[in-house]
Subunit: 247 residues, 2 copies
DNA sequence: AATAGTTAGCGTATTTTTTACGCTGAGATT
DNA sequence: AATCTCAGCGTAAAAAATACGCTAACTATT
């Protein structure tokens, strides 16, 4: 499955900040940096899913490949948000050795294009859990990260915060059927502060593309909430105006 | 002054969309792609100022270098806004030959990090006008461009449009002393549509960091307007809130 | 000298959006 | 039966956006 090692471009990589939402807090998917061969002394650190670019591979395509290999999902929301290219961003000798071991190329300097990705946590099989030791981590409580991956995640969150104010992308993180409250909790988790439920719901319901279903929660210890779904076609058709959620 | 040719990384480059404002319309600084040596048959096309990265050079630093060499200015507003990395973005044989001739390295695939830059058109000496055939072009009327530089400019304008709604960066394009009308014309030029002068001025003057001066225009064929200046320190101090110009 | 043309700059009235709450309803839990 | 929690509808007040009217001050034109 893996390309010959020498086909990697030693200067270019992609890293994916994969966001998920479990109903309570915003999560990010991390893998564990483990050396395949020798070098047991290298400490196991977490890192973002990412890879060097295969020669002549498209950047976006590389990000898709990384996510497909990791989660088994394609057609995922994926957005480039920044490039990280300071010459010393990969400077820890352990990090360099690990990269060279796993890629088979000599690492001089790597510029990485960062994407953030939004996935429905329930849908993700996270196929290579065992192989890569992939796991979800609360963005408010991240483990030690390799390279400059902490900075990349922080920037990714900033980009996401901006994006949810202008584009209806929160539905990429919510299940197909969702309640308004779930949506609000998601917004609160991303923005990092609380919102008034009555005003929040008013603002959301102005949008015709958020459609009520004839279905309600049950088994909850309070008045059951109605489910809604996002009508993407309706949104695409009349998005004459940019939405503006100034939360 | 120039580094040895072999020091370029053949995979990485920066390109700068340098915006300027002449009081009427938004301009972008382009250079002419001319081959130093032979190859007279290569058509002269315009391109963005940019360059391959010197080994171990910082991306931001590379963008600064390109601008310093071109305009003689440092401490310029510079913001990374996107990466362009499709494998075929440099595919025209003439473009490839020109790149190889001028850089001295073999070009396989180049990922470019795009910055936009805001400069006060009056201040710019545009030092290397002759050498690079640099010139300002109206963004509404661009010449034929090499590579994917037209796409890069279009994306740069979009980023700028977003940015001027949230950050007081228009002052990077205006002279130190400016009138409200000049500011409005600049906003109109960037956004591509007209604004109501009375509402525009009300909105701007709410900001304490736009300070009136005791100085007015003269020699204009209408009531002379007051000059203002941007007080950056005042802005930095109490920017508790993100500004929101929903023009 | 009068007139026309242009932008400056102050105002007002109306509509829309935001903000801050009050309150009842429908379930489960104790 | 009382209590807890969130759902969901509502209202009143404040703030912001929008749409204009109008006079002031200057140059250019006749």
């Amino acid at each position: 499955m893996k390309e010959p090692l020498t086909s990697f471009n030693p200067h270019l990589s992609v890293d994916c900040v994969v966001f998920g939402f479990d109903g309570n807090s915003l999560k990010v998917l991390l893998v564990e940096k483990v050396a395949d061969n020798h070098a047991k002394h290298i400490p196991r650190k977490h890192k973002l899913p990412g890879d060097l670019i295969i020669r002549m591979e498209d950047l976006y395509g590389a990000a898709e490949r990384v996510l497909l290999e990791l989660t088994g999902l394609s057609n995922i929301f994926l957005k480039q948000f920044s490039v990280f290219g300071t010459p010393d961003r990969i400077s820890d000798p352990d990090d360099i050795r690990w990269l060279e071991d796993t890629s088979g190329v000599t690492i001089s300097r790597v510029v990485t294009t960062a994407y953030y990705s939004l996935i429905k946590i329930g849908k993700s099989k996270v196929k290579n859990v065992v192989k890569n030791n992939a796991s979800w981590h609360d963005v408010a409580n991240l483990p030690d990260l390799a390279f400059d991956h902490e900075e990349i995640i922080k920037e990714g969150i900033k980009s996401l915060q901006m994006a949810i104010r202008h584009e209806p992308i929160c539905f990429e993180l919510l299940p197909r059927k969702f309640t308004l409250r779930e949506t609000q909790i998601l917004y609160e988790a991303i923005l990092g502060h609380e919102l008034d439920n009555r005003n929040f719901r008013k603002k959301l319901l102005k949008a015709a593309y958020i459609e009520p279903l004839d279905e309600k929660q049950n088994g909850v210890a309070h008045k059951p909430a109605r489910f809604y779904k996002f009508n993407k076609k309706k949104y695409e058709l009349n998005r004459t105006d940019i939405l503006n959620y100034n939360f």
